[in-house]
């Protein structure tokens, strides 16, 4: 889950990290008031859970309250990177003497936590390379030297070295305590008075750890609301899982093709999607199911997919996992199609049905005249059969 900039900054400020003065604005009037209150030049930034806001035109500078109001009028209500802009962060503009990058994340190769530091901060940090790396163990207590090594990687000395050492250590500690996957300060600025500021921050929390970060989430209600706002289609799959926890309707992603998909397992879904596109067919959705879903859940999932107007055919692919009872899968799919008043023989282009209780499943499909395949036909083989 992504915590938007202003909420992440408020949380970091509460931990004593250096955050520029700022106020949020939901209306042009708010923006004007914020600019008046902060005094002098300001920067206005859209609050959406996405990186790349500057390049997308979501950041504006204003020298006067009137200019801030006008900029806010442009930004609020626009759609940027797929999100409607509802809130801005208005911040006092800093006099920049130097721009740096400092971030904490996990390194999947070394399997450790990592501070990344670069003296070339800014929007194209990924392109520059040459990041200093300081690995640390994600324990509650982070040794001081981790911060010092990061400051050294930035090429700092003297007073700046001491200041940034503390800041970097605190960042690593925060990263661990909040169960973040990414906590990035980009840029980390030093102003003309030698003061250090976290000018922008990118914070992503581990969805699998949210259960133990409830207090933090309460302090980020705007981000939590944005995270809950998924497409209606994806929401429906999630709602199915909530109503019936047996098996997982799992991840459902709407695409724009004509072939509806129900596939058992993540690896099989990836394989089937490749095969579909290789065969020149267009999937209407991505869908992986897992475990042992109930007949009801499969039925509802089938209806959900078939109700999309562009869907012409349904392909169901189970793999040889054998944990999932495929006869129940077949029953659910057939029931869903019948409830929509359609004929399973027409709707199902292919049903691959290896797994436990496969003979019962095959019998049921035979009864409805549905074309089915066993384990001897590969996932790709099934797709090629329907082309």
């Amino acid at each position: 889950m992504i915590i938007v900039e202003y909420e992440a900054k408020a949380l970091l400020k509460a931990r004593g990290l250096p955050i520029p003065d700022g106020m949020t604005a939901d209306t042009p009037d708010d923006a004007r008031y914020a600019a008046e209150t902060l005094g002098g030049a300001v920067v206005l930034k859209v609050q959406i859970p996405m990186g790349g806001r500057m390049k997308a035109g979501g950041v504006r500078f204003a020298d006067t309250p009137e200019a801030a109001e006008a900029a806010a009028r442009d930004l609020l209500g626009m759609t940027l990177l797929g999100w409607r802009v509802e809130r801005l962060l208005v911040e006092r503009r800093l006099a920049i003497a130097g721009e740096y990058y400092l971030g904490a994340t996990y390194d999947s190769g070394q399997r450790s936590a990592l501070l990344l530091a670069s003296a070339a901060g800014g929007i194209d940090i990924e392109a520059h390379g040459g990041l200093g790396q300081v690995r640390f163990s994600p324990n509650v207590s982070i040794p001081d030297y981790v911060g010092r090594e990061a400051a050294a990687a930035l090429g700092l000395a003297g007073k700046a070295f001491a200041q940034v050492s503390g800041l970097a250590k605190s960042l690593a500690e925060t990263f661990v305590q909040w169960d973040a996957l990414l906590l990035e300060c980009n840029p980390l600025l030093v102003d003309d008075g030698g003061a250090w500021w976290i000018a922008d921050v990118h914070l992503e929390l581990d969805d699998d750890a949210l259960y133990r970060q409830k207090a933090l989430l309460e302090l980020a209600p705007f981000s939590a609301a944005l995270a809950a706002r998924r497409s209606a289609f994806e929401m429906s799959a999630a709602a199915l899982d909530e109503r019936d926890h047996r098996g997982a309707a799992g991840r459902l992603v709407a695409l724009d093709g004509t072939i509806g998909l129900i596939i058992g397992g993540g690896g099989a879904s990836l394989t089937a999607m490749d095969a579909l596109l290789d065969a020149g067919l267009s999937p209407a959705n991505y869908c992986e199911i897992g475990g042992n879903p109930s007949v009801w859940k499969v039925k509802e999932l089938t209806k959900l997919i078939l109700r999309q107007p562009q869907v012409e055919k349904l392909v169901v692919i189970m793999n040889v996992v054998s944990n999932t009872r495929v006869d129940l899968m077949a029953r659910g799919v057939i029931k869903g199609i019948l409830e929509l008043g359609r004929d399973p023989r027409d709707v199902i282009a292919a049903f691959r049905i290896p797994g436990s209780w496969e003979d019962e499943g095959a019998k049921l499909l035979d009864h409805y005249g549905v074309r089915h395949f066993g384990r001897e036909t590969t996932i790709e083989g099934v797709i090629e059969e329907i082309r």
């Binding site: 996990y106 994600p138 699998d208 750890a209 259960y211 993540g266 690896g267 879904s269 054998s322 001897e376």
Partner: protein, 298 residues
């Protein structure tokens, strides 16, 4: 021979009283696995499919010595269960629990490394050495495992548990048996990577070839390619990478949590190119795998 576990490996199941764990315990015993004890705090004294349950790993091992642990506990206590297993001398841990917080996973791997133990997973369906043992739940019921897996000389390592059985079944259908199959889990950070396991297969005189199933995300396939280029392992490697389509749909997260694509790094297309450069044989279709294996084993 096998890697990691053998027919006589004595297995402890942490979290044995859970629904899933109880099921795979029964089916694994039916398959021939030596599951000797279970642990669920507060449930000591129970029996699950005739396996005695203890409150602590220490108590379990005092009564029933074991070599390996299957960790099938709720995500929030997986780190603690791992520490308990390591502190009591267990040196092979198969973590089947999924959705463990990343911070805990990294600490689990660090702890295993410090103890000199091998951790497989999290989110692993387990290890199968056909005809000898199963540590975990890959392949489902005992009969289904017997049908899909055949004893033989090909190793399989897969980032997808389901596709491991699919590949084994393909090989079995072509009369090609397997030595040891390992479901390493689809998460971004895991205890046993392709690179961690390759040396074990290299040292196994009864493995003649290796099949690996890769997915988008991470650099595991690229690292394997680097190693192959530098070390020239004796085993021929046949790889399949699923999820090429994701390259055309940037920004959407598909498949396992690890299957997250950021730019060109970690993309299936880049992995395939890199592996081919290194001399790894990459199948463009699953169906090609048995033929390719036969060719290199001749």
């Amino acid at each position: 021979m096998t890697i990691l576990a053998h027919a006589e490996t004595r297995i402890l199941v942490q979290g044995i009283t859970g629904r899933e764990a109880a099921t795979f315990t029964a089916e694994s015993i039916r398959y021939g696995a030596k599951i000797v004890a279970g642990v669920t705090p507060g449930k000591g004294g129970m029996r699950i499919h005739d396996v005695p349950v203890f409150d602590t790993v220490r108590g379990a091992l005092a009564a029933q010595p074991a070599d390996a642990a299957i960790i099938s506990v709720p995500p929030g206590v997986a780190l603690d269960a791992t520490r308990e297993a390591l502190a009591n001398g267990l040196r092979l841990l198969v973590v089947v629990t999924e959705r463990i917080p990343r911070r805990d996973v990294v600490q689990m791997i660090e702890a295993a490394r410090q103890a000199g133990a091998q951790m497989v997973g999290p989110n692993s369906l387990g290890i199968i050495s056909p005809g000898k043992t199963r540590i975990g739940m890959a392949g489902g019921a005992a009969d289904a495992v017997r049908r899909a897996y055949l004893p033989g000389r090909v190793g399989v390592i897969s980032r997808s548990g389901g596709m491991m059985t699919e590949i084994a079944s393909l090989l079995t259908g072509a009369g090609i048996g397997q030595s040891t199959c390992v479901s390493i889990g689809g998460d971004p950070i895991i205890g046993a990577t392709f690179l961690d396991l390759l040396p074990l297969y290299e040292a196994d005189p009864e493995t003649d070839a290796l099949v690996i199933f890769g997915e988008p995300g991470g650099m595991m396939e690229e690292r394997l390619a680097e190693y192959v280029e530098a070390q020239h392992p004796r085993l021929p490697i046949i790889a399949f990478v699923a999820g090429r389509f994701a390259d055309r749909m940037q920004g959407i997260r598909f498949g396992h949590a690890g299957a997250m694509v950021n730019g060109a790094a970690g993309s299936p297309a880049a992995k395939i190119v890199r592996m081919r450069e290194a001399g790894i044989l990459v199948a463009s279709r699953l169906g090609e795998i048995p033929g390719m294996v036969k060719k290199v084993m001749r």
